[in-house]
Protein backbone atom coordinates (compact mmCIF):
# COMPACT_ATOMS: atom_id res chain seq x y z
CA UNK A 1 0.00 0.00 0.00
CA UNK A 2 2.91 2.31 0.51
CA UNK A 3 4.31 1.62 -2.96
CA UNK A 4 2.74 4.10 -5.24
CA UNK A 5 3.45 3.33 -8.87
CA UNK A 6 1.79 6.59 -9.84
CA UNK A 7 3.12 10.11 -9.48
CA UNK A 8 1.75 12.27 -6.67
CA UNK A 9 2.07 15.77 -8.01
CA UNK A 10 3.21 18.18 -5.33
CA UNK A 11 4.42 15.55 -2.89
CA UNK A 12 6.80 13.70 -5.21
CA UNK A 13 8.10 17.01 -6.57
CA UNK A 14 8.69 18.21 -3.00
CA UNK A 15 10.62 15.03 -2.15
CA UNK A 16 12.70 15.45 -5.32
CA UNK A 17 13.51 19.02 -4.30
CA UNK A 18 14.82 17.80 -0.93
CA UNK A 19 16.88 15.18 -2.77
CA UNK A 20 18.38 17.97 -4.91
CA UNK A 21 19.23 20.06 -1.86
CA UNK A 22 16.44 22.53 -2.67
CA UNK A 23 14.03 21.55 0.10
CA UNK A 24 11.18 23.94 0.75
CA UNK A 25 7.92 24.40 2.60
CA UNK A 26 4.96 26.65 1.92
CA UNK A 27 4.30 29.85 3.80
CA UNK A 28 1.27 32.13 3.82
CA UNK A 29 1.33 35.89 4.36
CA UNK A 30 0.73 35.30 8.08
CA UNK A 31 3.84 33.14 8.42
CA UNK A 32 2.08 29.78 8.81
CA UNK A 33 4.05 26.84 7.40
CA UNK A 34 2.51 23.92 5.47
CA UNK A 35 3.47 21.23 2.97
CA UNK A 36 2.46 20.50 -0.63
CA UNK A 37 0.17 19.73 -2.31
CA UNK A 38 -1.60 22.67 -0.69
CA UNK A 39 -3.83 25.44 -2.03
CA UNK A 40 -5.14 26.87 1.23
CA UNK A 41 -3.31 27.59 4.49
CA UNK A 42 -4.78 25.13 7.01
CA UNK A 43 -4.24 27.65 9.82
CA UNK A 44 -5.86 30.79 8.42
CA UNK A 45 -7.37 30.01 5.01
CA UNK A 46 -4.97 32.24 3.07
CA UNK A 47 -4.66 31.17 -0.56
CA UNK A 48 -1.43 32.94 -1.45
CA UNK A 49 1.26 30.41 -0.53
CA UNK A 50 4.94 30.93 -1.35
CA UNK A 51 7.74 28.36 -1.50
CA UNK A 52 10.30 29.14 1.21
CA UNK A 53 13.64 27.28 1.61
CA UNK A 54 13.52 24.53 4.25
CA UNK A 55 16.18 25.11 6.94
CA UNK A 56 19.29 22.94 6.44
CA UNK A 57 18.74 21.29 9.81
CA UNK A 58 16.01 20.66 12.37
CA UNK A 59 15.65 19.30 15.89
CA UNK A 60 14.21 15.89 16.77
CA UNK A 61 10.88 16.61 18.53
CA UNK A 62 10.12 12.94 19.25
CA UNK A 63 11.19 9.53 17.92
CA UNK A 64 10.56 5.82 18.18
CA UNK A 65 12.43 2.66 17.28
CA UNK A 66 9.94 0.52 15.39
CA UNK A 67 10.30 -3.23 15.90
CA UNK A 68 7.06 -4.43 14.28
CA UNK A 69 6.60 -3.10 10.75
CA UNK A 70 4.11 -3.56 7.95
CA UNK A 71 5.18 -5.79 5.01
CA UNK A 72 6.45 -2.82 3.01
CA UNK A 73 9.04 -2.09 5.72
CA UNK A 74 9.68 -5.63 7.01
CA UNK A 75 13.33 -5.72 5.96
CA UNK A 76 14.28 -2.52 7.82
CA UNK A 77 13.39 -3.42 11.42
CA UNK A 78 14.41 -2.10 13.76
CA UNK A 79 14.33 1.41 12.33
CA UNK A 80 13.99 4.83 13.89
CA UNK A 81 11.15 7.14 12.88
CA UNK A 82 11.19 10.72 14.10
CA UNK A 83 9.15 13.90 13.93
CA UNK A 84 11.60 16.75 13.35
CA UNK A 85 10.92 20.41 14.03
CA UNK A 86 12.07 22.78 11.28
CA UNK A 87 10.44 25.87 12.76
CA UNK A 88 7.24 26.65 10.83
CA UNK A 89 6.84 22.98 9.81
CA UNK A 90 7.54 19.58 11.29
CA UNK A 91 8.42 16.56 9.13
CA UNK A 92 8.26 12.80 9.73
CA UNK A 93 10.98 10.48 8.43
CA UNK A 94 13.54 7.82 9.23
CA UNK A 95 16.71 8.70 11.12
CA UNK A 96 19.73 7.17 9.40
CA UNK A 97 23.47 7.71 9.48
CA UNK A 98 24.73 9.46 6.35
CA UNK A 99 27.53 6.89 5.94
CA UNK A 100 25.09 3.97 5.88
CA UNK A 101 26.14 2.50 9.24
CA UNK A 102 23.38 1.10 11.43
CA UNK A 103 21.51 3.48 13.72
CA UNK A 104 19.19 2.45 16.57
CA UNK A 105 16.95 4.29 19.02
CA UNK A 106 19.72 4.54 21.62
CA UNK A 107 21.68 6.70 19.17
CA UNK A 108 18.89 9.31 19.00
CA UNK A 109 17.77 11.93 21.52
CA UNK A 110 15.02 14.51 21.62
CA UNK A 111 16.62 17.81 20.63
CA UNK A 112 19.27 16.18 18.41
CA UNK A 113 20.15 18.17 15.26
CA UNK A 114 19.49 16.37 11.97
CA UNK A 115 19.52 17.27 8.28
CA UNK A 116 16.84 16.22 5.76
CA UNK A 117 17.73 13.93 2.84
CA UNK A 118 16.08 11.30 0.68
CA UNK A 119 16.92 7.60 0.82
CA UNK A 120 15.43 4.32 -0.34
CA UNK A 121 13.58 1.74 1.71
CA UNK A 122 15.40 -1.59 1.94
CA UNK A 123 12.25 -3.59 1.42
CA UNK A 124 10.73 -2.07 -1.69
CA UNK A 125 13.27 0.50 -2.88
CA UNK A 126 10.73 3.32 -2.50
CA UNK A 127 12.04 6.81 -1.87
CA UNK A 128 11.77 7.82 1.78
CA UNK A 129 12.44 11.04 3.70
CA UNK A 130 15.41 10.51 6.00
CA UNK A 131 17.11 12.59 8.66
CA UNK A 132 20.86 12.40 9.07
CA UNK A 133 22.47 13.31 12.41
CA UNK A 134 24.75 16.32 12.04
Amino acid sequence: MTDADYHDEGYDDWLAAIEDGDGFYLECENGHGSLPPRRVCPDCGATDLAEVPLPDAGEVATFTEIAVAPPSFEDETPYVTAVVDFGPVRLTGQVRNADGTELVGDDVDVGMTVAPAVGETQTTGERVLVFEPR
Partner: protein, 388 residues
Protein backbone atom coordinates in the same frame (compact mmCIF):
# COMPACT_ATOMS: atom_id res chain seq x y z
CA UNK B 1 -35.46 19.14 21.35
CA UNK B 2 -36.39 15.76 22.73
CA UNK B 3 -34.38 13.55 25.06
CA UNK B 4 -32.49 10.54 23.73
CA UNK B 5 -32.94 7.24 25.56
CA UNK B 6 -30.83 4.11 25.15
CA UNK B 7 -33.49 1.42 24.79
CA UNK B 8 -31.22 -1.56 24.24
CA UNK B 9 -27.61 -2.57 23.71
CA UNK B 10 -25.76 -5.58 22.34
CA UNK B 11 -22.29 -6.93 21.68
CA UNK B 12 -20.67 -9.97 20.17
CA UNK B 13 -17.75 -11.55 21.94
CA UNK B 14 -14.67 -9.47 21.18
CA UNK B 15 -11.79 -11.69 20.16
CA UNK B 16 -10.27 -13.76 17.39
CA UNK B 17 -13.02 -14.78 15.01
CA UNK B 18 -11.21 -14.67 11.66
CA UNK B 19 -13.75 -16.91 9.96
CA UNK B 20 -16.75 -14.74 10.79
CA UNK B 21 -17.96 -12.14 8.29
CA UNK B 22 -18.66 -8.55 9.27
CA UNK B 23 -22.32 -9.01 8.38
CA UNK B 24 -22.63 -12.00 10.71
CA UNK B 25 -20.92 -10.16 13.56
CA UNK B 26 -23.20 -7.13 13.21
CA UNK B 27 -26.30 -9.30 12.91
CA UNK B 28 -25.48 -10.95 16.24
CA UNK B 29 -24.91 -7.62 18.03
CA UNK B 30 -28.14 -6.19 16.58
CA UNK B 31 -30.19 -9.22 17.68
CA UNK B 32 -28.84 -8.75 21.22
CA UNK B 33 -29.68 -5.03 21.13
CA UNK B 34 -33.26 -5.59 19.91
CA UNK B 35 -33.79 -8.35 22.49
CA UNK B 36 -32.58 -5.97 25.19
CA UNK B 37 -34.69 -3.07 23.91
CA UNK B 38 -37.97 -4.83 23.22
CA UNK B 39 -38.40 -2.45 20.28
CA UNK B 40 -39.94 -3.55 16.97
CA UNK B 41 -37.42 -3.66 14.11
CA UNK B 42 -40.06 -2.12 11.84
CA UNK B 43 -39.97 1.06 13.92
CA UNK B 44 -36.33 1.76 13.05
CA UNK B 45 -36.10 4.86 10.86
CA UNK B 46 -32.32 5.06 10.32
CA UNK B 47 -29.26 2.84 10.66
CA UNK B 48 -25.91 4.50 11.29
CA UNK B 49 -23.09 2.00 11.10
CA UNK B 50 -19.36 2.38 11.76
CA UNK B 51 -16.71 0.42 9.91
CA UNK B 52 -13.12 1.31 9.07
CA UNK B 53 -11.31 -1.25 6.93
CA UNK B 54 -13.99 -3.38 5.31
CA UNK B 55 -12.58 -2.79 1.83
CA UNK B 56 -9.21 -4.18 2.88
CA UNK B 57 -10.39 -6.99 5.17
CA UNK B 58 -13.42 -8.20 3.24
CA UNK B 59 -13.27 -6.49 -0.12
CA UNK B 60 -16.58 -4.93 0.87
CA UNK B 61 -17.65 -1.35 0.43
CA UNK B 62 -21.17 0.10 0.63
CA UNK B 63 -21.78 -1.62 3.94
CA UNK B 64 -24.80 0.42 5.09
CA UNK B 65 -27.51 -1.49 3.24
CA UNK B 66 -25.65 -4.77 3.78
CA UNK B 67 -25.85 -4.25 7.54
CA UNK B 68 -29.49 -3.12 7.47
CA UNK B 69 -30.27 -6.37 5.71
CA UNK B 70 -28.21 -8.34 8.24
CA UNK B 71 -30.05 -6.67 11.13
CA UNK B 72 -33.45 -7.20 9.51
CA UNK B 73 -34.36 -3.52 9.33
CA UNK B 74 -35.78 -1.82 6.26
CA UNK B 75 -34.55 1.66 7.12
CA UNK B 76 -32.12 3.72 5.09
CA UNK B 77 -28.58 2.91 6.20
CA UNK B 78 -25.34 4.87 6.08
CA UNK B 79 -21.81 3.85 6.94
CA UNK B 80 -19.62 6.19 8.98
CA UNK B 81 -15.86 6.03 8.63
CA UNK B 82 -13.61 8.02 10.98
CA UNK B 83 -10.92 5.40 11.58
CA UNK B 84 -11.14 4.12 15.16
CA UNK B 85 -13.84 6.71 15.95
CA UNK B 86 -16.16 5.39 13.21
CA UNK B 87 -19.03 4.27 15.40
CA UNK B 88 -18.56 7.14 17.83
CA UNK B 89 -19.45 9.43 14.95
CA UNK B 90 -22.36 7.12 14.10
CA UNK B 91 -23.69 7.47 17.66
CA UNK B 92 -23.38 11.24 17.38
CA UNK B 93 -25.48 11.29 14.22
CA UNK B 94 -28.08 9.03 15.83
CA UNK B 95 -28.29 11.31 18.87
CA UNK B 96 -28.75 14.37 16.66
CA UNK B 97 -31.49 12.69 14.62
CA UNK B 98 -33.52 11.69 17.66
CA UNK B 99 -33.05 15.06 19.33
CA UNK B 100 -34.09 16.96 16.26
CA UNK B 101 -37.20 14.88 15.80
CA UNK B 102 -35.91 13.43 12.52
CA UNK B 103 -36.34 9.92 13.87
CA UNK B 104 -37.92 8.26 16.91
CA UNK B 105 -35.95 5.03 16.65
CA UNK B 106 -32.40 4.67 15.34
CA UNK B 107 -30.22 1.59 15.21
CA UNK B 108 -26.55 2.45 15.64
CA UNK B 109 -23.48 0.27 15.82
CA UNK B 110 -20.39 -0.96 14.11
CA UNK B 111 -18.35 -4.00 13.22
CA UNK B 112 -14.83 -4.90 12.21
CA UNK B 113 -13.21 -8.06 10.93
CA UNK B 114 -9.43 -7.91 11.31
CA UNK B 115 -7.81 -11.20 12.29
CA UNK B 116 -8.29 -12.73 8.84
CA UNK B 117 -5.56 -10.32 7.65
CA UNK B 118 -2.96 -11.50 10.20
CA UNK B 119 -0.71 -9.19 12.22
CA UNK B 120 1.32 -7.79 9.33
CA UNK B 121 -1.73 -7.26 7.15
CA UNK B 122 -3.61 -5.57 9.98
CA UNK B 123 -0.64 -3.32 10.76
CA UNK B 124 -0.61 -2.22 7.13
CA UNK B 125 -4.39 -1.76 7.01
CA UNK B 126 -4.54 0.29 10.22
CA UNK B 127 -1.84 2.58 8.86
CA UNK B 128 -4.27 3.99 6.30
CA UNK B 129 -5.78 6.02 9.15
CA UNK B 130 -2.56 8.05 9.09
CA UNK B 131 -1.42 10.48 6.38
CA UNK B 132 -0.27 8.28 3.51
CA UNK B 133 2.15 10.77 1.98
CA UNK B 134 3.74 12.28 5.05
CA UNK B 135 3.55 9.47 7.62
CA UNK B 136 2.94 6.02 6.14
CA UNK B 137 5.60 6.42 3.46
CA UNK B 138 8.12 7.20 6.21
CA UNK B 139 7.37 3.81 7.78
CA UNK B 140 5.20 5.15 10.58
CA UNK B 141 2.97 2.46 12.07
CA UNK B 142 0.05 2.98 14.42
CA UNK B 143 1.99 1.78 17.46
CA UNK B 144 4.81 3.97 16.14
CA UNK B 145 2.57 7.04 16.13
CA UNK B 146 1.47 6.52 19.73
CA UNK B 147 5.08 5.79 20.65
CA UNK B 148 5.99 9.20 19.22
CA UNK B 149 3.30 10.75 21.43
CA UNK B 150 4.48 8.77 24.48
CA UNK B 151 8.07 9.92 24.00
CA UNK B 152 6.92 13.51 23.57
CA UNK B 153 4.84 13.18 26.76
CA UNK B 154 7.73 11.74 28.78
CA UNK B 155 10.02 14.47 27.46
CA UNK B 156 7.63 17.27 28.34
CA UNK B 157 6.00 16.08 31.55
CA UNK B 158 7.95 13.05 32.79
CA UNK B 159 6.53 9.60 33.46
CA UNK B 160 7.78 6.11 32.82
CA UNK B 161 7.03 2.81 31.15
CA UNK B 162 6.11 1.55 34.59
CA UNK B 163 3.38 4.18 34.87
CA UNK B 164 2.00 2.91 31.56
CA UNK B 165 2.24 -0.71 32.72
CA UNK B 166 -0.14 0.13 35.57
CA UNK B 167 -2.74 1.21 32.99
CA UNK B 168 -2.49 -2.18 31.27
CA UNK B 169 -2.64 -4.09 34.57
CA UNK B 170 -5.75 -2.15 35.63
CA UNK B 171 -7.59 -2.75 32.39
CA UNK B 172 -6.77 -6.45 32.31
CA UNK B 173 -8.09 -6.75 35.86
CA UNK B 174 -11.31 -4.99 34.86
CA UNK B 175 -11.83 -7.37 31.93
CA UNK B 176 -11.71 -10.46 34.13
CA UNK B 177 -15.50 -10.73 34.72
CA UNK B 178 -16.45 -9.33 31.27
CA UNK B 179 -17.64 -12.26 29.18
CA UNK B 180 -17.37 -10.18 26.00
CA UNK B 181 -13.68 -9.34 26.55
CA UNK B 182 -10.83 -10.71 24.46
CA UNK B 183 -8.46 -11.09 27.42
CA UNK B 184 -10.07 -12.33 30.63
CA UNK B 185 -6.78 -12.73 32.41
CA UNK B 186 -4.68 -10.74 34.82
CA UNK B 187 -1.20 -9.48 34.04
CA UNK B 188 1.48 -8.02 36.31
CA UNK B 189 3.54 -4.86 35.98
CA UNK B 190 6.64 -7.05 35.62
CA UNK B 191 5.12 -9.03 32.75
CA UNK B 192 4.16 -5.82 30.99
CA UNK B 193 7.64 -4.35 31.41
CA UNK B 194 9.31 -7.58 30.22
CA UNK B 195 7.20 -7.87 27.07
CA UNK B 196 8.86 -7.36 23.69
CA UNK B 197 9.07 -3.82 22.34
CA UNK B 198 6.68 -2.95 19.50
CA UNK B 199 7.76 0.66 19.01
CA UNK B 200 9.88 2.16 21.79
CA UNK B 201 8.92 3.14 24.45
CA UNK B 202 5.81 0.99 23.93
CA UNK B 203 5.80 -2.78 24.35
CA UNK B 204 3.37 -5.52 23.49
CA UNK B 205 1.35 -4.99 26.69
CA UNK B 206 0.93 -1.30 25.96
CA UNK B 207 -1.04 -2.18 22.82
CA UNK B 208 -4.60 -3.29 22.32
CA UNK B 209 -5.02 -6.63 20.52
CA UNK B 210 -6.31 -7.28 17.01
CA UNK B 211 -10.00 -7.94 17.46
CA UNK B 212 -13.05 -9.11 15.53
CA UNK B 213 -16.40 -8.00 16.90
CA UNK B 214 -19.51 -5.87 16.65
CA UNK B 215 -21.65 -3.58 18.77
CA UNK B 216 -25.18 -2.20 18.48
CA UNK B 217 -27.55 0.09 20.36
CA UNK B 218 -31.17 1.10 19.84
CA UNK B 219 -31.74 4.80 20.57
CA UNK B 220 -35.28 6.12 20.96
CA UNK B 221 -36.92 9.43 21.75
CA UNK B 222 -38.31 10.04 25.23
CA UNK B 223 -41.78 10.16 23.71
CA UNK B 224 -41.38 6.83 21.95
CA UNK B 225 -40.11 5.24 25.17
CA UNK B 226 -43.14 6.56 27.07
CA UNK B 227 -45.69 5.59 24.41
CA UNK B 228 -44.32 2.08 23.96
CA UNK B 229 -43.52 1.49 27.62
CA UNK B 230 -39.85 0.91 26.83
CA UNK B 231 -37.64 0.54 29.89
CA UNK B 232 -34.76 2.87 29.03
CA UNK B 233 -33.28 4.37 32.18
CA UNK B 234 -30.13 5.81 30.56
CA UNK B 235 -30.07 8.93 28.36
CA UNK B 236 -27.44 10.42 26.12
CA UNK B 237 -27.36 13.99 27.40
CA UNK B 238 -24.25 15.32 25.71
CA UNK B 239 -22.44 14.85 22.42
CA UNK B 240 -19.24 16.46 21.21
CA UNK B 241 -16.78 15.98 18.39
CA UNK B 242 -13.41 17.52 17.76
CA UNK B 243 -11.08 17.48 14.79
CA UNK B 244 -7.41 18.22 14.22
CA UNK B 245 -4.70 18.01 11.59
CA UNK B 246 -4.52 14.58 9.99
CA UNK B 247 -0.80 14.04 10.59
CA UNK B 248 0.78 14.12 14.02
CA UNK B 249 3.51 16.41 12.67
CA UNK B 250 0.92 19.11 11.95
CA UNK B 251 -0.53 19.25 15.47
CA UNK B 252 -0.20 22.19 17.79
CA UNK B 253 0.98 19.83 20.53
CA UNK B 254 2.56 16.35 20.34
CA UNK B 255 1.88 15.40 23.95
CA UNK B 256 -1.76 16.49 24.14
CA UNK B 257 -4.91 15.73 22.15
CA UNK B 258 -6.64 19.02 21.28
CA UNK B 259 -9.37 17.27 19.25
CA UNK B 260 -10.42 15.34 22.35
CA UNK B 261 -10.25 18.48 24.47
CA UNK B 262 -12.65 20.19 22.07
CA UNK B 263 -14.98 17.16 21.97
CA UNK B 264 -15.07 17.00 25.77
CA UNK B 265 -15.76 20.73 26.15
CA UNK B 266 -18.62 20.51 23.68
CA UNK B 267 -20.13 17.38 25.23
CA UNK B 268 -19.91 18.74 28.78
CA UNK B 269 -21.49 22.05 27.73
CA UNK B 270 -24.19 20.17 25.82
CA UNK B 271 -25.07 18.15 28.93
CA UNK B 272 -24.62 21.12 31.26
CA UNK B 273 -22.00 19.31 33.36
CA UNK B 274 -18.26 19.47 33.93
CA UNK B 275 -15.50 16.97 34.62
CA UNK B 276 -16.18 16.96 38.36
CA UNK B 277 -19.66 15.51 37.70
CA UNK B 278 -18.27 12.41 35.97
CA UNK B 279 -18.48 9.23 38.07
CA UNK B 280 -17.06 6.74 35.60
CA UNK B 281 -15.53 6.76 32.10
CA UNK B 282 -14.83 4.49 29.15
CA UNK B 283 -11.92 5.93 27.17
CA UNK B 284 -10.05 5.04 24.00
CA UNK B 285 -6.96 3.21 25.29
CA UNK B 286 -5.75 1.73 22.01
CA UNK B 287 -2.36 2.14 23.67
CA UNK B 288 -1.72 2.75 27.37
CA UNK B 289 -0.48 6.28 26.67
CA UNK B 290 -3.78 6.98 24.90
CA UNK B 291 -5.67 6.46 28.18
CA UNK B 292 -3.39 8.99 29.86
CA UNK B 293 -3.99 11.52 27.09
CA UNK B 294 -7.74 10.88 27.32
CA UNK B 295 -7.84 11.50 31.09
CA UNK B 296 -6.21 14.87 30.53
CA UNK B 297 -8.36 15.80 27.53
CA UNK B 298 -11.49 14.99 29.55
CA UNK B 299 -10.19 17.42 32.19
CA UNK B 300 -9.97 14.76 34.89
CA UNK B 301 -6.32 15.77 35.25
CA UNK B 302 -4.17 18.73 34.26
CA UNK B 303 -1.66 18.02 31.46
CA UNK B 304 1.18 15.96 32.90
CA UNK B 305 -0.86 14.71 35.88
CA UNK B 306 -2.74 11.82 34.25
CA UNK B 307 0.28 9.57 33.82
CA UNK B 308 0.27 8.39 37.44
CA UNK B 309 -3.52 7.98 37.82
CA UNK B 310 -3.60 4.19 37.48
CA UNK B 311 -0.46 3.70 39.57
CA UNK B 312 -1.97 5.84 42.34
CA UNK B 313 -5.15 3.78 42.21
CA UNK B 314 -7.38 6.72 41.28
CA UNK B 315 -8.75 5.13 38.09
CA UNK B 316 -8.87 1.53 39.27
CA UNK B 317 -12.21 -0.08 40.20
CA UNK B 318 -11.69 0.98 43.82
CA UNK B 319 -10.56 4.47 42.86
CA UNK B 320 -12.39 7.79 42.97
CA UNK B 321 -13.31 7.65 39.31
CA UNK B 322 -12.90 4.23 37.69
CA UNK B 323 -11.83 4.28 34.05
CA UNK B 324 -12.41 1.47 31.58
CA UNK B 325 -14.33 -0.89 33.86
CA UNK B 326 -15.07 -2.90 30.69
CA UNK B 327 -11.37 -3.67 30.33
CA UNK B 328 -10.97 -0.93 27.75
CA UNK B 329 -9.62 -1.46 24.27
CA UNK B 330 -6.51 -2.91 25.89
CA UNK B 331 -8.18 -5.98 27.39
CA UNK B 332 -11.75 -5.98 26.06
CA UNK B 333 -10.36 -5.63 22.53
CA UNK B 334 -10.64 -3.10 19.72
CA UNK B 335 -12.65 -4.11 16.66
CA UNK B 336 -12.02 -0.66 15.23
CA UNK B 337 -15.39 0.24 13.72
CA UNK B 338 -17.33 -1.30 16.62
CA UNK B 339 -15.45 0.39 19.45
CA UNK B 340 -17.26 3.74 19.74
CA UNK B 341 -20.68 2.15 20.10
CA UNK B 342 -19.29 -0.64 22.30
CA UNK B 343 -18.21 2.01 24.82
CA UNK B 344 -21.80 3.28 24.91
CA UNK B 345 -23.00 -0.31 25.33
CA UNK B 346 -20.64 -0.96 28.26
CA UNK B 347 -21.41 2.38 29.92
CA UNK B 348 -25.17 1.84 29.59
CA UNK B 349 -24.86 -1.48 31.38
CA UNK B 350 -22.51 -0.04 34.03
CA UNK B 351 -25.03 2.74 34.80
CA UNK B 352 -28.07 0.43 34.65
CA UNK B 353 -26.41 -1.87 37.14
CA UNK B 354 -26.37 -5.00 34.98
CA UNK B 355 -22.66 -4.95 34.08
CA UNK B 356 -20.43 -7.40 35.95
CA UNK B 357 -18.43 -4.38 37.17
CA UNK B 358 -21.42 -2.22 38.11
CA UNK B 359 -20.79 -3.07 41.76
CA UNK B 360 -17.61 -0.96 41.59
CA UNK B 361 -19.74 2.17 41.09
CA UNK B 362 -23.10 1.48 42.77
CA UNK B 363 -23.99 5.18 43.06
CA UNK B 364 -22.80 6.26 39.60
CA UNK B 365 -25.34 8.26 37.62
CA UNK B 366 -23.13 10.00 35.05
CA UNK B 367 -20.57 8.43 32.71
CA UNK B 368 -18.63 9.59 29.66
CA UNK B 369 -17.33 7.73 26.63
CA UNK B 370 -14.32 8.95 24.65
CA UNK B 371 -13.62 7.49 21.19
CA UNK B 372 -10.58 8.62 19.20
CA UNK B 373 -9.74 8.16 15.52
CA UNK B 374 -6.28 8.01 13.98
CA UNK B 375 -3.70 9.69 16.18
CA UNK B 376 -6.63 11.67 17.63
CA UNK B 377 -7.41 13.71 14.52
CA UNK B 378 -11.07 12.82 15.24
CA UNK B 379 -12.68 12.35 18.63
CA UNK B 380 -16.22 11.95 19.89
CA UNK B 381 -17.26 12.29 23.52
CA UNK B 382 -20.67 11.33 24.84
CA UNK B 383 -22.27 11.97 28.23
CA UNK B 384 -24.64 9.30 29.54
CA UNK B 385 -26.89 9.88 32.54
CA UNK B 386 -29.31 7.80 34.55
CA UNK B 387 -32.78 9.36 34.45
CA UNK B 388 -34.65 9.64 37.74
Amino acid sequence: MTGVRIAGVGLTHFGEHPERTGRDLFAEASVAAFDDAGVDRDDVEELYYGNFMGELAEHQGHQGPLMAEAAGVRAPATRYESACASSGTAVRQAVKDVRNGEADVVLVGGAERMNNLGTAGTTEALAIAADDLFEVRAGMTFPGAYALMARAYFDEYGGSKEDLAHVAVKNHENALPNEFAQFQREITVEEALDAPTVASPLGLYDACPITDGASAAVLVSEEYAAEHDVDAPVSVTGTGQGGDRMALQGRGHLARTPAAERAAEEAYADAGVDATDVDVAEVHDCFTIAEVLALEALDFYAPGEGIGAARRGETTRDGDRPVNLSGGLKAKGHPVGATGTSQVVEMTRILRGDHPNSDAVPDADLGVTHNAGGTVASTTVHVLEVEE
